[in-house]
Symmetry: C2
């Protein structure tokens, strides 16, 4: 998505060879017009997926998810993160390990808002090791619902998350794919669909 890759080129800050900071428009400060366009783009990409509900995770997933929900006219749920698990029968819970923070969090969603008839679009800001997306998919499957797709703003394609997700058979749409952050520079990968047509990307 050109609007997003342009913004990353202009405002993204590369730290080391692994970290891309997008605090000025996604993670702390947010650009509402960009978020709206992102919502419309997800609606376009998943228009044939029969989505009935969107699931994201607090906090940075909420803005793009609510915009996608507006464009697709479906309710949006955000999973909550919490340190430790107190068992409660009205919640689906899954464990997500954060490589960045080196800690495990429980993520939870109320059973009331994920029904077995649901076709759920999962949205998150970043895909790196895939732990959050896989945890969210786990919540959907605990409900007996279907994951109709996973929509990501920024995929770090040089980390294993995208492959993990594709290996599990989920449909993955990433609006920006980062091939490398070596030498302080953002190098993008081609869109996955384009890549498959031209066999190999650039």
């Amino acid at each position: 998505m050109k609007l997003l890759t342009d913004k990353i080129e202009r405002e993204g800050i590369v730290l080391g060879n692994n970290v891309l900071k997008v605090d000025s428009f996604i993670n702390h400060q947010m650009d509402p017009q960009l978020m709206n366009e992102i919502g419309l783009e997800f609606a376009r990409r998943f228009k044939d997926a029969g989505v009935t509900r969107i699931l994201t995770i607090e906090s940075s997933g909420i803005a793009p998810a609510i915009m996608a929900g507006l464009a697709m006219n479906v309710p949006v749920i955000f999973a909550r993160k919490r340190k430790s698990l107190t068992l409660t029968s009205d919640l689906y819970t899954s464990t997500v390990y954060s490589f960045t923070k080196q800690e495990s969090n429980e993520i939870t969603v109320s059973k009331k808002y994920l029904l077995k008839e649901d076709r759920v679009l999962i949205i998150d800001d970043f895909l790196a090791n895939g732990q959050a997306a896989i945890g969210l998919a786990d919540l959907v499957e605990q409900a007996g619902a279907e994951v109709s797709g996973i929509g990501i703003l920024i995929e770090k394609s040089f980390q294993p998350g995208a492959d993990e997700i594709l290996k599990k058979g989920y449909r993955l749409e990433s609006l920006a794919r980062i091939a490398s952050l070596q030498d302080g520079k953002v190098k993008f990968a081609a869109d996955r669909e384009v890549q498959s047509i031209y066999s190999g990307g650039y």
Copy 2:
């Protein structure tokens, strides 16, 4: 705002005499069309306030804030909550006590995204004791910026937050005002502007 008070009447759940649960459309599951209308309503109410930036707090404030940002065409920042304060020179921090959770949290915002020229609209989902809103206003004032108003989805008018905020001289716009939750029933108060015209509400 009738759309919101109607929704509260239909879907809000009263617990005890103090708690209104709105998990089905604001706090956990979110209604994107309603959030969009809320954003438009804030834009309407604060159209003459010269707002240059919106500040909210994770997580439930993000959806209404991003919609208001879209309608007003200004960037949105969300303050982060964290348990303990590690001093860092690039953050404004304030302490917010939660009466519900009976704990203090630090809230923080990067100095990069609050400038002294800013006129800041603060948005949050609930106003009860006013701690979060006052903490957010404190961040704005640390930056030397101006609080151009505080926009709240649901004000519990029987708790002291609204009076505290008005006493400090801030402009407050609450889209739904709850006069009482006694006996498991939601009783609304009139809009503050209407109330002042007709001296005393209904």
